[in-house]
Subunit: 598 residues, 2 copies
Amino acid sequence: MSDSPTTDALRSASPLRHARTWISKETLELENGSQLSDVNVCFETWGNLDKDASNAVLIPHALSGDSHVTRHEEDDEPGWWELLVGPGKPIDTDRYFVICSNVLGGCRGTTGPNFENPETGTAYGAEFPVVTVRDMVEVQKRLVDELGIKQLRAVVGGSLGGLQALTWAIEHPERVGACIVLAAAPRLSSQGIAFDVVGRNAIRHDPCFAGGQYYGGPSPEAGLALARMLAHITYLSDESMRTKFDPTRLQPRSVEGGFENIFSVGSYLAHQGGRFVERFDANSYITLSTAMDLFDLGEPGAKLEASLSPATCRWLFLSFSSDWLYPPEASRQLVDALVARSQPVSSCNIESSVGHDSFLLEEPMRLGGRMVASMLANESDTSGPIRVPEEPRIEDATSIFYAQRLDYEMILRLMPRGASIIDLGCGNGELLSILRDRDHHPLRGIERDSHAVADCVDRGLDVIHADLEEGLPAIPDQSFEVALLSQTLQSIIDVVGVLDEVVRIGRRGIVSFPNFAYLPMREMFLRDGRLPKAEGLYAYDWHDTPNRRFPSILDFQELCAQRGIRILEAIFVDSMSSQEIHDDPNRNADIAVMVLAR
Amino acid sequence: MSDSPTTDALRSASPLRHARTWISKETLELENGSQLSDVNVCFETWGNLDKDASNAVLIPHALSGDSHVTRHEEDDEPGWWELLVGPGKPIDTDRYFVICSNVLGGCRGTTGPNFENPETGTAYGAEFPVVTVRDMVEVQKRLVDELGIKQLRAVVGGSLGGLQALTWAIEHPERVGACIVLAAAPRLSSQGIAFDVVGRNAIRHDPCFAGGQYYGGPSPEAGLALARMLAHITYLSDESMRTKFDPTRLQPRSVEGGFENIFSVGSYLAHQGGRFVERFDANSYITLSTAMDLFDLGEPGAKLEASLSPATCRWLFLSFSSDWLYPPEASRQLVDALVARSQPVSSCNIESSVGHDSFLLEEPMRLGGRMVASMLANESDTSGPIRVPEEPRIEDATSIFYAQRLDYEMILRLMPRGASIIDLGCGNGELLSILRDRDHHPLRGIERDSHAVADCVDRGLDVIHADLEEGLPAIPDQSFEVALLSQTLQSIIDVVGVLDEVVRIGRRGIVSFPNFAYLPMREMFLRDGRLPKAEGLYAYDWHDTPNRRFPSILDFQELCAQRGIRILEAIFVDSMSSQEIHDDPNRNADIAVMVLAR
């Protein structure tokens, strides 16, 4: 290992002050069959590796990134993920030893097309071999070996960095504690590839490209700028572009390089393109974007599940609602494939208006950073969950009767000892935490409110951000001993669909709900001629109740019979008296908890 | 007027067999201050102009189109809108005299950058002036004058053709009967402009572009192909690209022109780009796409309303759910601006998976073509509506109790004679048609089901495709004498929001709903302990009723009092006996119709 800058870089942007270079002497066999020898690896680290080398966090970077994730000291150049990495930040350099290296094929110090090809004595240029994400990860693995690290606490990456994180978990399962993947997918969409292809073709058709052998002469700046301008559009969202450019559509700033100067958005893109060519190499751009496009864990279903099958880490997937390059649905495919294999995975689709770049931006990463921090903290065997959840937010959470969970005790009574449980509509994870304390395992939650999801992640629970109404096809039949639906039934439109899922996913279902045929309610309705309203569970007006369905115990029993669902056990309670009801529960109980099976 | 092809075209793709050219001798003053003289207008016509010249339909074409909309005879080359135009087609050339001319600035026979600049004796090239959509329309207007047509039955256009149709209605209101606008917007989004800017910059940076003076030499084929490849992505949808390319991602067809040949989607785009450069001129592409980007009727609200204020025609707007170039929300801005000005407008957002190009494709244009045909037929003063609606589709229509409209008679009794009416949740327009027959005017419907919307358009009604739950901010306060909400209340989640809109939009609201506190229902509930279920209005199971709210008359009265809404009149009926109820209607009536006002 040496602190001297690479000697082979024929063309490189401004050197990174704190970067070190290590040269891997072992020949690198690339996935496409080529070989590279004496691979330079340019990297930076922050914080201290602890005695048992257990606190290392690797951060692979995105397409246009480099090893400089964050500052090393106050007057240092800002890094590309200051937001997330540093002392006291979610990836806390006071606690963790953080590593980031420039990717193979890049242009900021690690071997890439701008390095000398030992066979020809000139720069590789377009002769640089096709590199895959797996090749990038192999180089990083060698660096991690060199640093004496057997296991990474976590690999954390967004976009191309997310693809590398995924590959780490698949290729080196024994070395990854947690894998945190932001704004990524099993593969790029055909639309996304199409944009990249147009960008690369623009570079190749720049007359300065000269078949890729432009080092020493003028570089294909116009082509690279065009590629960057196009890619930049895909990193933003329609909404963020509207906000930024619509008020001044026809007020461009001055533009260099012969680019059109009519629209403000055009001049902004030209400016971005111009800045990019100052720090990036066109051949690297082709190499890295092609690697992104080639990355393919297979189509959703059996193929994707097989690709992910070696992985054994804990997972967190963060997607962003306005990301249309690696959209939430694509991130969800990864989550579903892991869920199908009963892996420990959490996911959250963060509401954001700013597109793919959300993972780099403050507003969307407020919630995201909190979850990253919790994942890292919970990954430690010794310290356990460090965070106390904030005040529960109940507005949008699935469970309507949050404040008053009379049904918990009944559910716990009916729960087989130590059973594995999936809680459908788990809210902030309160009940799951109680179940974990009682040694239930494994546990999984499904919740549709993102803040409640974050609460669950804080608690160290596995939770999927999803809406029950859309079904849960990824979860295998009978994969939990118990599927729980507590005080959620009445908020569901597709009652039959969800009930069928309960008894498909769980060997048993446990369902709790308010009985709207409770005699005082019926009498109130007969007497007053108005929709019943009462304390506690029924304290809603007819016109704004979060309830969508109004089950009675009899109605529910009849539906179960119609659907071929058996009711194995039941507990009925009158919450007024806190008494268990055995006589005519449809008349005398206002809460029902039933154990179901197909 | 002459049948000879233009003599000035220095460079043109294959001539259009049936195209004629007329030369406008009057100098054309362009919006940017330049002038053009002896403007060539290349056009085609189909069908016969009737004696009073009242059956002409003008079809402006989209960016890459030309005058050849459809075949003239069987062995003719197919046109670009065969789907919609021809004998027996929605734009029926047996009934209408159809006109299409190549746009100003185009390259298929109408004056454009490939024409000789009389001042220099060489092709205009990049010296061709900036042309706007208004300039294009001015040239068309001269042609229409020349053809002896005072009023167009309709102008029908999609995409850039839609922008021209809009401009016709604004600039020449007295000459347009109906304006049918497909896949268009008040202006292109900043994202859309950004793609165009990158495309034009690719053309300008092609070394063959030579500052636009490439005629006689090699043309900037690579640049134009890149621009087309990029634009083509925006014409498709993410989903349609996935369907087309995901199964064979890495199986490209052979590619010419030095374009990348790794991904199937890339080779497809290269193929499209290659075909395009054979028939299109790069300077025309720059001219027309810039005109598209410059088109701007102003931001939604007062500015857009002012832009549209001269128009007096009837309108139909068709958007397509997966169009992200001119998305449904943008089309809706036009609709809202016209609604705000109480103009006769209908709209439908057609469900489609194939993106912006939907207006050219069979599946989405099945419903679209039907509405276009109805608009044209209904535009005739003499013949009136020609179509009988198909069987009403009730599954998704807003009105739940469709088959059994006992409330109609009550509503008609309470309706002020000749009052203007907006029907919120109008279904297939049955009630609005009855009201029209009783000389109510003007009438407008709001409906969330697209097929029911088409039924309304067939009936010649003005109907907006929208969801009441999202509010109706475009409709001015007190702009109708009556806002009607018939048998829709119980299907609405945001009851308060919709009720507030009813009494804001209408000077009176008339609301009909089923009374869930009808005594037989209460007794049934008390006796059976199950959610009441009965014939007719109540024939739904608790778990799959389309009802979301269960109002009683008392509950409704209380809510009105809370919201400061006065109940001016009411009729209550017992549908079992068909008797009007005066004594304790909350007990004895199952249908209520109330007249409300703020």
